[in-house]
């Protein structure tokens, strides 16, 4: 089955700057596998390490979310369009961590704590704000 896979803007640089690719696939899973076989750098942005699609990666067949169909086993038909659509999430770290863990930063009851230096989070210095 020849289907079109639409690539969202943030991933186009990993797919030869194209907004879509044509693949032959019988299911959504096959279509995504073909996409990744051709453009391997897409894998880490679409899939978790355990091989499951990331929670913020939404896949539609034509206008239907595959979560309400047969997920990656959803069958495809000639001419179908598979769209990868981002959802966006984020937020602060929890104020209180588990035993032995210091929160990155916390304000509670007027008490200001100092963020720890954490280069991975871009916190270079522990500075009280």
């Amino acid at each position: 089955m020849a289907v079109k896979v639409m690539i969202p803007t943030p991933l186009r640089s990993y797919a030869g700057k194209r907004d879509h690719v044509e693949v032959a696939a019988k299911t959504v899973g096959e279509a995504l596998s073909s996409l990744i076989a051709e453009h391997g750098d897409l894998r880490r942005h679409l899939y978790q390490d355990d091989g499951r699609l990331r929670s913020f990666v939404n896949v539609y067949v034509n206008d239907d979310d595959i979560r309400y169909l047969q997920k990656e086993a959803t069958p495809l038909h000639d001419g179908d369009t598979v769209s990868i659509v981002p959802s966006i999430a984020g937020g602060t770290n929890p104020c209180h961590s588990g035993p032995g863990e210091e929160p990155a930063f916390c304000v509670k009851d007027g008490e200001k704590r100092i963020p720890r230096a954490n280069p991975a989070l871009g916190i270079k210095d522990a500075v009280e704000r």
Partner: protein, 147 residues
């Protein structure tokens, strides 16, 4: 990498963050890529409009935000209608610094600019912008310019 915010845009983000406090607020950044550049490369983006969005995380809105796929498509249409690009997203960190959290990193997309506004006790403060590294290992800071 540089992210130029029009004065009105910066003000709109600050007002949205203050108005929504103590909840996280979020919205879309619309504008143009003036000079292309990836992570580690020179580049300039100009944000000329924002689209405030509803935070869909009503279970923990003080420390989480969520934009649904439908809202993303709506933001893309809004950008198209203005002949602009959807360049990224902004959100507030109530009573936290304007630094991306581990949760932010885990859920981020590459290419998008992520503007974070710190709001302390309803007062908007530092604003920063970040882009996810290609290998998802961390963020690169974007320098914010106000024009």
């Amino acid at each position: 990498m540089r992210l130029r915010l029009l004065t009105d845009v910066r003000q709109a983000i600050r007002e949205h963050g203050a108005h929504g406090y103590p909840h996280e607020v979020c919205g879309a950044l619309l504008g143009r890529e003036v000079a292309a550049g990836g992570n580690g490369l020179a580049g300039l983006r100009e944000v000329t409009a924002v689209l405030p969005l509803e935070n869909r995380r009503d279970d923990s809105p003080r420390n989480r935000f969520s934009v649904t796929a439908e809202d993303v498509l709506r933001a893309e249409r809004a950008a198209d209608e203005r002949s602009l690009e959807l360049l990224g997203w902004y959100h507030s960190h109530p009573d936290h610094p304007a630094r991306p959290s581990e949760f932010d990193r885990e859920h981020a997309w590459p290419w998008y600019s992520y503007v974070i506004l710190s709001v302390a006790q309803r007062e908007p403060g530092e604003m920063t912008s970040w882009r996810l590294a290609d290998d998802r290992s961390g963020y690169a800071a974007e320098c914010i310019e106000v024009a």
